[in-house]
């Protein structure tokens, strides 16, 4: 698989990577009212990284990363824990949702729910886990006896 690059995959990666990420974000935020959510969104975004890996191998995947996957996992856990505990610190039961409705000109009414932040944590963590496994299992030096 390594060494040979497929033009089709290469082009698909170039055009689709950002699109998939946007779709994954859409699934993530839509999840509160329709099918989707942090886990599904994270897996879709993970799919984008899989595509990049298939197109260019571990090296290219590594180059495409803004930060290390472990940082994503840690950040995701932190965000989820943070949203879990904030209500408890404020005196409500843990995980109580805060709902804020904003009227933004042009865009319309936006409803912000604090539990969406929890989902963002899940999303970050799942992306981190997928990339981490890709890098761990997909890096070249492991190819001992192919």
């Amino acid at each position: 698989m390594m060494g040979r690059t497929s033009v089709v995959l290469d082009e698909a990666d170039r055009w689709l990577f950002r699109v998939i990420i946007v779709v994954s974000l859409f699934v993530l935020f839509k999840g509160h009212n329709a099918p989707g959510g942090g886990f599904a969104g994270g897996l879709i975004a993970g799919g984008a990284f899989v595509l990049r890996y298939l197109a260019g191998g571990a090296l290219r995947l590594r180059r495409a990363l803004a930060f290390r996957p472990l940082a994503g996992i840690g950040l995701g856990l932190f965000v989820a824990a943070f949203t879990t505990l904030i209500p408890a610190i404020l005196g409500d039961p843990a995980l109580t949702s805060a709902i804020v409705t904003l009227d933004v000109p042009i865009i319309g009414t936006i409803k912000l729910v604090s539990s969406a932040l929890f989902d963002v944590g899940v999303y970050l963590l799942v992306v981190g886990v997928v990339v981490q496994i890709l890098l761990a299992l997909g890096s070249d030096p492991l190819e001992g006896r192919s």
Binding site: M1, G31, H32, N33, A34, P35, G36, G37, G38, F39, A40, L43, I44, G46, G47, V50, P69, L70, I73, G74, G76, L77, A80, A81, T84, A94, L95, S97, I99, K111, V113, S115, A116, F118, D119, G121, V122, L125, V126, G128, V129, V130, Q132, I133, L134, L135, A136, L137, G138, S139, P141, L142, E143, G144, R145, S146
Partner: protein
């Protein structure tokens, strides 16, 4: 007083952090805190009603930190703080100013704080908390010299023994809490629980006390703990920590002391400890080890005096506790001073020390004479009191009292004998041994604490009645009827006659019995039992691990699945009712039936596929079928996630399959294909049956219904599944993503390890 305890912790932290470069400053801060605690104890302790402070933790259980400064607590705080201040001051001269001293200061002050907390504890739970802190700090202090394997093992042994005792204490106090609803000493005294459970609890509590105070059969860790630097031994392993068990016994005896079980445990352990400690002390040439065994013996005496539960004995115990703390601290520091000045503390090698250091010899003589109970030292007055008390104890507790008396008298003879041996060995001039060279004369910091503490034995001894009056409050706070007086000259009575006999026999033993004879004869010691148990445990876990962790993935999966289905079968059989299956709807539409049947067929096909890659794809097909079922059942969220997970799983499979042979290896002989298929079908069948039964046996309305109503108003979301995940059951989700994170870390590390194993060897076949 909570503030003072917090100050201890603060100074400890400071000494270990900001003051790393000025350990002396940290040490003197510690001295200041200890001195302040002593002053506070005297000031607050002289009021009529004991001062108490409480910090509640678990209100329903009454758990928290409950402190109470009664008379006995004041005495113990004084011993802990005053001796602590002296020892810490001494240590600034004794140690070199390196990192070890930094650690010593921090841990020492922390220990002193925990010890002060322990003696002020008003209930068993509070005492247990401080108890454990002293165990850990003691471990760290014994192992202070962390480059020595002996010190490390001694520290580990002390921790394991006292830690096991701590667990016993926890179990015991829990039982008492369950039966009596409280562990506060005051409440237990007014409303004493009884019964078999309490007897078990008392055995456990005493086991804890015996480990801490080095009572037989747990006495062996204490001499080993002498691997610690001398200031540590002097303080923790003679004056304070080993008294923790005594404090516990002293608090419990007035409550439970009238039980025969308690009395015989106390007397049995106490007498055995007195004799073993005394006999072993007689056989030592290392002065510090001699003192350690002597401490063991003296702790046995204190256990009997406090534990027998007789008011007059309690008073004698309080007095002797003070006497022992004073003379033993003086002796330890004195031995440390000689060691520091002459480079050895071996009494077979030392010679001419007394000639070089006259004052030191006089001071050492005072402390030794107090230990042996010679008039007019303080030890004499307290030993007279103890003998007199035990003579009367027989009236209260019968045979146990007689055994105790005989044991104490015999032990005191040994005490006189080893005291003589210690003094002559330390300071005498031996004609057959060359005079020991004086390396450097002790400085003020070394000799001043030794002399002051040793002189206290004489001063207290000359005015025993004054000291005795001060001891009324401590004794009566333990047991309201406990009071007494100490006198310099008791007149010729039974106790005095016994004393005379004790001294004479002691001198004879010291003269006649050759060194090492007795000590070396006692073979069956707890030490060997401990070592056997320690090694046995390691061996057992090694064998157990190699049996259970065979490394065969097949075996792991088979065991896991069979255990799960066995548990389910038991559950199903317990509540089986064919009616429960009546309401089962096998399928809603033909599509469901078709999908389900094809999934089963695909799963069966996997068994006959020989190529790993194809097998992975077919299993993926089973998963997609599951997703289709979800979708047909009206669960788009689950279906979406299932499809995504199946896709990701195939990718991971591909990555892994690059590393393994294309075809499956032949199965091991114990697991032929028929057996594996059988297990799989059985497990699947049981799980399916279980699911069908469970869905038919609902007794309460589904919580999902309330979720549906609450989703929008409470969590602001229309997708109930998602709201459940991130809000209603957010804790579950948090747990799951944590597992996911840990699994990813595990994969990364396993791969890294596999690489490291491969790389240095190069190409392997």
């Amino acid at each position: 007083m909570t503030l003072l305890l917090a100050l201890h912790a603060l100074v400890a932290v400071l000494a270990l952090s900001v003051l790393r470069r000025q350990p002396r400053v940290g040490a003197w801060l510690g001295v200041a805190v200890l001195a302040a605690t002593a002053v506070y104890a005297v000031a607050a302790g002289t009021t009529a009603e004991p001062h108490g402070e409480s910090w509640i933790w678990v209100e329903a259980l009454g758990w928290g930190i409950h402190l109470r400064l009664d008379g006995f607590a004041v005495l113990m705080v004084l011993i802990v703080s005053v001796l602590g201040a002296f020892v810490l001051a001494y240590a600034t001269t004794y140690f070199d100013m390196d990192q070890r001293f930094v650690r010593f200061v921090g841990i020492f002050v922390l220990f002193a704080g925990a010890m002060n907390g322990l003696v002020m504890s008003a209930d068993l739970f509070t005492m247990f908390v401080f108890w454990e802190i002293t165990s850990v700090t003691s471990f760290l202090l014994i192992g202070l010299n962390d480059e020595s394997a002996t010190a490390r093992f001694a520290a580990l042994r002390a921790l394991l023994v006292t830690g096991a005792g701590g667990l016993c204490l926890l179990a015991g106090l829990s039982l008492i809490q369950i039966v009596a609803g409280t562990t506060a000493f005051v409440d237990l005294a007014t409303n004493t629980p009884a019964g078999t459970v309490i007897d078990v609890a008392l055995v456990l509590v005493l086991a804890g006390a015996f480990t801490k105070s080095a009572q037989f059969p747990f006495h062996f860790w204490l001499p080993g703990a002498m691997a610690a630097p001398t200031p540590v031994s002097a303080y923790l392993h003679s004056a304070t920590m080993v008294k923790a068990g005594i404090v516990l016994i002293a608090r419990m005896a007035p409550i439970f002391g009238d039980r025969a079980l308690w009395q015989w445990l106390i007397v049995g352990a106490g007498v055995a400890t007195i004799m073993i400690g005394g006999a072993r002390a007689l056989g030592q040439t290392d002065a510090k080890l001699l003192l350690a065994h002597s401490t063991v013996s003296q702790l046995g005496l204190l256990t009997i005096l406090f534990g027998i539960g007789v008011p007059i004995a309690t008073y004698a115990g309080v007095a002797h506790l003070l006497a022992h703390a004073v003379f033993k601290a003086g002796l330890f520091l004195g031995v440390g001073m000689v060691d520091h000045s002459f480079g050895t503390r071996d009494i077979a090698v030392l010679s001419g020390v007394g000639r070089r250091m006259r004052t030191a010899m006089v001071m050492g003589g005072l402390a030794t004479a107090s230990m042996a109970g010679i008039i007019p030292l303080f030890g004499f007055a307290t030993k007279e009191k103890s003998l007199a008390a035990l003579l009367k104890t027989t009236d209260y507790v019968g045979a146990a009292g007689t055994v105790a008396l005989v044991g104490v008298v015999a032990g005191s003879m040994l005490t006189v004998a080893y005291s003589i041996r210690l003094f002559v060995g330390m300071f005498g001039t031996k004609p057959e041994v060359a005079e020991t060279e004086l390396h450097h004369a002790p400085s003020l910091g070394l000799w001043l604490p030794v002399y002051v503490i040793s002189l206290a034995s004489l001063v207290f001894g000359l005015w025993p009645s004054a000291v005795g009056r001060l001891l009324d409050a401590p004794a009566s706070s333990l047991d309201a009827q406990s009071a007494g007086e100490l006198v310099l000259w008791p007149g010729v009575n039974t106790a005095f006659a016994l004393s005379v006999v004790i001294v004479i026999v002691g001198v004879v033993i010291a003269r006649l019995v050759p060194l090492r004879l007795i000590g070396s004869r006692i073979r069956l010691s707890g030490e060997e039992i401990f070592r056997a148990m320690y090694d046995g445990l390691l061996e057992f876990s090694r064998v157990a691990t190699s049996r259970i962790q065979t490394g065969s993935l097949l075996a792991y999966i088979a065991v896991t699945l069979l255990v799960i289905s066995a548990a389910l079968v038991v559950g199903v059989l317990a509540g089986f009712d064919a009616d429960l299956l009546d309401g089962v709807i096998w399928f809603d539409s033909a599509a469901q039936l078709v999908i389900a049947v094809s999934m089963a067929v695909l799963a069966l096909v996997v068994v006959f596929i020989e190529q790993r890659f194809v097998a992975a794809l077919v299993i993926g097909g089973v998963g997609l079928g599951c997703a289709a079922l979800f979708a047909l059942h009206g669960a788009p969220d689950l279906a979406l996630t299932q499809v995504l997970v199946e896709t990701m799983t195939i990718v991971v499979f591909l990555l892994v399959l690059r590393q393994v042979p294309q075809r499956f290896e032949a199965p091991p002989r114990w697991a032929p294909r028929v057996l594996r298929v059988g297990i799989a079908v059985a497990v699947g069948g049981v799980v399916a049956l279980f699911a069908a039964l469970v869905s038919g046996s609902r007794t309460a309305p589904s919580s999902g219904i309330s979720y549906a109503d609450l989703s929008l108003p409470e969590a602001g979301g229309k997708n109930i599944v998602n709201v459940i995940l991130v809000d209603f059951r957010g804790f579950d989700t948090f747990g799951e993503i944590t597992v996911l994170a840990v699994a990813a870390l595990g994969v990364a590390n396993l791969v890294k390890m596999a690489r490291r194993e491969k790389s240095p060897v190069g190409d392997q076949p």
